[in-house]
């Protein structure tokens, strides 16, 4: 196979990794302060985003290619993922800036871990080989395990990190087992190229599909865990609630982006020919996720737990696009990219209201926020309406996109179920709005410091994205139509 060595193919990952090294060096050897870490990280992320943009310009559509013996794919899919993941990491850093500032010198590790997670996430979208995907998954996940327990002093953060780590490691093992079974069935780990999985499956009739199907099932389970789809979601409320609020948004948003990138490439490309085998399973997971996520979110009294269950429901909504196979990938990207931004913004507000290092964020703390902090309340209300799928927000456009894809693929029952769940979901999104605007604060005003500049920037950017792509989603829809795998 053509090795096709090209620096540009790994450019974004290298840029982010160089950022990691630079930040750590700056802290350990040079003893430079936070301001420098910030600039270095920002530089690395801008470079990585720019390189992804360059890949987008050169390699999307018919110009897509594989590099490094098929290990790395550069196509519209991976470069779009880069253009989402790296800015998302930037938002995550800004949202968590006050948290990392409170951690003294350890803050440098925080910056480095976020960059590393972004690099891993990009590898998950760009891997052209199942082992490569697994390596990306591990780089990404291990960084997040550490970030989840970053405030070591708090017991529930430790608990969150430990839970995340144990269950996550288990899910990684399941994924790896799935990789092994797929290898056993097809004789290849490469997705592309002659003799690759896709090629093998399209040119061969399997008489005994059992091993392949078992492998596919295990891959689904492993990634279902990462994107917190029901019934593999049980970790998410505890982890979301326990982790320091400053980082929960990035944790939630990037996991969705990266997890769905892997799912989309593996399912629609490597296993694209057996769509009839996996689409019903994905539809079942989607149905279960929207129903369970919505019902459980209704019962929550803590904003972070509620958002955790709502993220389960959103995993289901995104999966409704996947049942359409290749036809739904653009819609999936639209949804997942805008959702990731919304979820970061929502957790940023939670961080300002309840403290960045704190875990819990009870809904009672939001009573009267509409009067106390009109700006924060307005952003959170916008995010709630968007997640609820109210028109003129990006959340609505995303729902139209994924549902349209599913209707085209003849999954009308799934769409109706998801729509009903979306209405039930409005109940808890509206409750946040009710509490903020229609209930007076109880007792003395809970004091919270105003939002820092980083948080402000995140909130402004997220609101702009949510409104702009809500009112005129067409430019982004045009872009994601090219964000397809090779």
């Amino acid at each position: 196979m053509n090795q096709n060595l090209d620096f540009l193919a790994i450019g974004p990952v290298v840029a982010a990794s160089l950022g990691v090294v630079a930040v750590l060096m700056a802290e350990v050897t040079l003893g430079l302060g936070r301001r420098v870490w910030g600039w270095l990280a920002g530089l690395a992320l801008v470079a990585a985003t720019a390189l992804s943009g360059l890949q987008w310009a050169l390699h999307r559509g018919p110009d897509a290619e594989t590099f490094f013996s098929g290990m790395i794919v550069v196509d519209g899919f991976s470069s779009f993922a880069g253009m989402v993941v790296f800015p998302l990491a930037g938002l995550g850093l800004m949202s968590g800036w006050r948290l990392l500032a409170s951690q003294g010198r350890r803050g440098a590790e925080f910056v480095a871990l976020v960059l590393l997670a972004a690099a891993g996430a990009h590898l998950m979208a760009a891997g052209g080989n199942l082992i490569m995907l697994f390596i990306g998954l591990e780089v990404f996940s291990i960084s997040l395990y550490v970030l989840a327990g970053f405030t070591r002093e708090r017991v529930d953060a430790d608990e969150a990190a430990l839970k995340y780590f144990l269950l996550g490691a288990f899910a990684s093992a399941v994924f790896l087992y799935g990789v092994a079974l797929v290898f056993a069935a097809t004789g290849s780990l490469d997705i592309y190229g002659p003799g690759g999985i896709a090629d093998f499956l399209s040119s061969t009739i399997l008489f005994k599909e059992g091993v392949l199907l078992a492998g596919v099932a295990l891959l689904l389970v492993g990634m279902g865990f990462k994107v917190s789809a029901a019934p593999f979601h049980v970790w998410s409320p505890d982890v979301y609630q326990g982790s320091p609020t400053g980082i929960t948004g990035f944790l939630a948003g990037s996991a969705k982006v990266a997890g769905f990138a892997v799912l989309a490439r593996v399912l629609t490309v490597a296993l694209g020919d057996s769509i009839a085998d996996w689409a019903p399973a994905v539809a079942a997971l989607a149905a279960l996720s929207v129903v369970l996520g919505t019902l459980l979110a209704i019962a929550q009294t803590d904003l972070k737990r509620m958002l955790a269950y709502s993220s389960v429901a959103h995993a289901g909504f995104i999966m409704t696009a996947l049942v359409a196979g290749q036809g739904g990938i653009g819609d999936m990207w639209f949804y997942v990219a805008t959702y990731a931004v919304q979820v970061i913004a929502a957790f940023t507000v939670a961080g300002v209201v309840s403290g960045d290092a704190a875990g819990a964020s009870p809904l009672t703390a939001y009573a009267g926020l509409g009067r106390r902090a009109p700006g924060l309340a307005a952003v959170l209300a916008l995010m709630m309406l968007s997640m609820g799928g109210i028109p003129l927000t990006a959340g609505f456009a995303g729902k139209v996109a994924v549902f349209r894809a599913a209707v085209d693929a003849d999954y009308l029952w799934l769409v109706i179920l998801a729509l009903v769940a979306a209405v039930a979901g409005l109940f808890f999104y509206l409750r946040v709005v009710v509490i903020m605007y229609m209930q007076p604060s109880e007792g003395e005003e809970p004091a919270h410091p105003g939002a820092g500049w980083g948080a402000r920037l995140v909130l402004v950017a997220a609101s702009a994205v949510t409104l702009a792509f809500g009112i005129a989603p067409w430019p982004l829809l045009d872009v994601v139509r090219d964000a397809l795998p090779l």
Binding site: R404, L419, L430, M438
Partner: protein
């Protein structure tokens, strides 16, 4: 103004501009808020007036059409236009909003947000009436819920949060199924046309199987039935109407409920004609139950605002009955009754709001003999009540008469049953009037209530003028409705074997 001036977009965007203007007003000058908001809504009314002036009476198709394709792969685009039916409702909306805002002086808390929410609501409602693209229609339909939700939930009565959430969830549930229907319709269209489309006019051209029509009718119909509200989907209405602030109730009863009936007329009848003809008995039965049930429940209310709220259920039953009578007279009556109900019930809610501002109660038993202390107010109340009952010479008569005549042609027994609704309306309204305004003053607190103020009088005078005008001379309105209604009936006759009955032609003589 040039002929191709995008007047419809302008009327939809004017209130939005007003809302933004209100929000950037200086915080220290709250007294400026209402005048600015009223100015914006009066400008919108001016636009609607121009529309009325330029509208070509007698033409059946859509006028002032604007059409842009936004996103080819989805078939999503912007398509607006009005025919005689939506024209009247646009004018009604633009007419009621300045009045509702003028009646909002009791609101002092967060007045800027309130005025902005009202104006956004106006934009949403106007958008629904002018959209000819189902996706755009749905966007307006859903987006309109948000300001109404805030108006009820923040500025409403004591159980406002409950009422607001109930209102929102009821409506959202209905629209979820409608949205599934819209997507399915676009998908079926892409099968037949080779590309998806949400354009209403293009969707009229596709063939739907009988089964598909029934399911789609159910999906759309449920959403509209909740909005109307048709019995048994009406339970959100009393709560929302009673808890909403006065202006909110006026808009809710005056325009929001019409959206449901308008949707049935515009989309269900034309897109799913076969299902419409087949489901006439179901819709007519529900409508008649609504007429009688709403009236009976209104009789026993002790809260006058609740009484008016239930009277809406009854009156809207007439509208739906007229629509599903599927006769020219019935449809015309249904449309004109929408306008009439907007005027009379809007005026009733205004009157109830005025007495509430004075006494902070709406219990009928708390009043009595008010006629001697507030003669003008009592006179206005009686006038509007007569219009609502359907006294000849006032507007209510025109609509109900046409509906009953139209229904008698196709569904005679339903007309007989519905006629009792007119009788019951006299019972609940006149009895309420008797208890509140006649006899001696029973409660000392009522002894020196002030009569209508200058501002209140000016809130009511335009309403009363329109009530009288449409009662005496409804021809201008009917002239505009008639061609549009005929188009709908012609379409039904073309695609189904239903024949519209007319006077002098009986079933046997056909």
């Amino acid at each position: 103004m040039p002929a191709d001036f995008p007047i419809l977009t302008t009327i939809v965007l004017l209130p939005v501009a007003g809302a933004l203007a209100v929000l950037v007003l200086p915080r220290r000058r709250p007294e400026l808020v209402l005048p600015v908001a009223i100015a914006a809504s009066v400008l919108t009314l001016g636009g609607a007036g121009w529309l009325l002036w330029e509208f070509q009476t007698g033409e059946a198709g859509f006028q002032f059409v604007e059409k842009v394709t936004w996103y080819e792969p989805w078939g999503a685009g912007y398509h607006v236009g009005v025919d005689g039916i939506s024209l009247l409702l646009v004018v009604l909306t633009a007419f009621l909003f300045p009045i509702a805002l003028l009646a909002s002086t009791a609101i002092t808390d967060r007045i800027r947000q309130y005025a902005a929410a009202m104006l956004m609501l106006e934009a949403g409602i106007l958008g629904v009436f002018v959209s000819l693209d189902l996706l755009v229609f749905f966007v307006f339909w859903e987006a309109m819920l948000v300001p109404m939700y805030f108006i009820i939930g923040i500025w409403g009565g004591s159980r406002r949060v409950y009422a607001a959430v109930k209102f929102f969830l009821y409506t959202a549930l209905g629209s979820a199924l409608m949205f599934a229907g819209i997507l399915a319709l676009a998908f079926l269209a892409s099968d037949q046309l080779g590309r998806p489309t949400f354009d209403f006019v293009e969707l009229l051209g596709i063939d739907l199987t009988r089964t598909a029509q029934f399911w789609l009718f159910a999906g759309f119909g449920l959403s509209f039935a909740i909005k109307v509200p048709l019995f048994p989907f009406h339970t959100w209405l009393p709560d929302a109407h009673v808890e909403a602030p006065t202006a909110g109730s006026v808009i809710l009863a005056g325009v929001l409920l019409k959206l449901g009936a308008y949707g049935l007329l515009r989309f269900n009848l034309t897109l799913f004609p076969e299902a419409s003809v087949g489901l006439v008995p179901v819709m007519a039965v529900l409508a008649v139950i609504g007429i009688i049930y709403g009236a009976v429940v209104a009789i026993v209310q002790s809260d006058v605002k609740r009484l008016v709220a239930y009277s809406s259920v009854s009156h809207l039953g007439f509208v739906v009955l007229g629509i599903f009578a599927l006769t020219a007279q019935g449809l015309q009556g249904g449309v004109i009754q929408m306008v009439n109900h907007g005027l009379t019930t809007g005026a009733l809610f205004l009157l109830v709001g005025m007495i509430y501002e004075r006494r902070h109660t709406r219990e009928i038993s708390e009043f009595g003999g008010l006629g001697s202390v507030m003669p003008l107010y009592a006179g206005a109340f009686l006038f509007v009540a007569f219009a609502s009952i359907g006294l000849p010479g006032l507007n209510g008569f025109v609509g109900e008469f046409l509906v009953l005549v139209g229904t008698y042609l196709s569904l005679p027994w339903y007309a007989v049953a519905a006629a009792f609704g007119v009788l019951l309306a006299a019972v609940y309204l006149l009895w309420a009037y008797q208890r509140m305004f006649t006899g001696p003053i029973t409660v000392p607190a009522n002894r020196d209530l002030p009569d209508l103020s200058f501002r209140e009088a000016w809130v009511l005078i335009p309403m009363a003028a329109m009530i009288l005008f449409l009662g005496i001379y409804p021809k201008p309105a009917l002239d505009r409705i008639e061609p549009s209604v005929d188009v709908i009936l012609q379409r039904i006759e073309q695609v189904t074997d239903y024949r519209v009955p007319e006077f002098g032609i009986t079933e046997a003589g056909r």
